[in-house]
Symmetry: D2
Subunit: 134 residues, 4 copies
């Protein structure tokens, strides 16, 4: 599991006075990339070999400009050619967002999905937190 | 059902050479707002009385800069204080994204969810396309 | 000169209730790319061979969600390895933004700026509107 | 003067493989808001009373995903109803961007520009670094 902290940007607010729903997808990507890139940096180009198959974002409470947001990301499932991540965001210790996504491994030569290499699968599996699933 | 057309922006591409997953959430909002704002413009402030409870984005094929994207949006369910929308995106006639969301009616005085007014419910119900559900 | 029309997106508003200043940079890019890509599509990869050296954005009046914005772009100067563009944006026929930028030609092999090819220079020069300079 | 550090987000890259020019405007706002909001938090609503009149962004070198960016912001001029900020960004200790902007004080009741209150002017003036001007 990995926890990052980020500051909402004023451009991420919208005319309703809170953080726009689309900014949350950007924060989820930020947390996910930092975690996965670090895990896999030494193997096969890090997070760049993955494309998103699906993501779900549950908005539990509003986020606002002016306070940091904690983004926790965990790996909840590792398959043959894909893995799943779950995410929880907090602002002022209040849960504001739950999210999940499935990422598919892409062979950069064929540009198609493919079974992931064994060393990559081993690293991801060592991080597995199945109880974390939303 | 409503269909809008939009041009991907170069800033929406990412270093993988395609449209970034987060831009798709922006396009979904653009289609949804145009549809709902037009439907409800004369009633209770249009789409501004709604906040997103949840959204799911399924990435079926890549989108690229350089060709228009068609965004089709339909209302698939109308509840007491919320409704559901479904969305399909096409680029060069190829289905690239399926998405869905639940939007909750907010009473702008109390800032809390509330049963939606009867005239609003009637307009949304008249647009219902339950078969459209992904 | 080229004129495009675009719909502000709700995610481009901010908590002050108007379009955020950073969205205007995205609109300027959208107008510029559409113009330059079309002009140069058949030559040397279109707008992709250019990087921005500098841009200035003058905010004359607020833009709002809900009405289309017209983005006019013109080429005001053509140099040896760069050219200048100017831009004016209008919402409901009111001038809201003036902008300008200098774009530098990059040789995609060396990744460095270089004199632009003669046919590219000829196309850009044929579009010159020096009086348009802000 | 204030220095903040931020991590580029993957969604801020573009198909040229580097950070898109429009993301730099977002970073400039992030640095500016953090500085000005902190300075003026106790006075008249902080940075929210300001709108941008003009900004210039000079792109000196590319920024990339994967390394933090340092954003330095300074106040270079204080007028009757406006002030000027300058900004320098660095990635891996290399200067990548210089920027400047003029912000105008808005009376939130009349929604028009107005002379700024004396205590606000005093705080901004105490931070003046005229030599910092680009």
């Amino acid at each position: 599991m990995r926890s990052i902290s980020l500051r909402p940007r004023f451009s991420e607010t919208d005319a309703l006075g809170h953080i726009n729903n689309t900014a949350v997808a950007v924060w989820f990507e930020a947390g996910r990339m930092e975690y996965i890139d670090d895990l896999l940096a030494a193997i096969h180009g890090g997070a760049r070999s993955w494309v998103m198959a699906t993501q779900t974002l549950d908005y539990i409470a509003e986020n606002f400009f002016g306070s940091e947001v904690r983004v926790d990301v965990a790996i909840t499932k590792v398959g043959t050619s894909s893995f799943s991540v779950a995410c929880r965001m907090y602002q002022n210790d209040k849960l504001t967002v739950r999210a999940s996504a499935v990422l598919v491994f892409i062979d950069m030569n064929t540009k198609k999905s493919a079974p992931m290499p064994g060393d990559m699968r081993a690293v991801l599996t060592s991080e597995l937190e199945p109880d974390w699933e939303s």
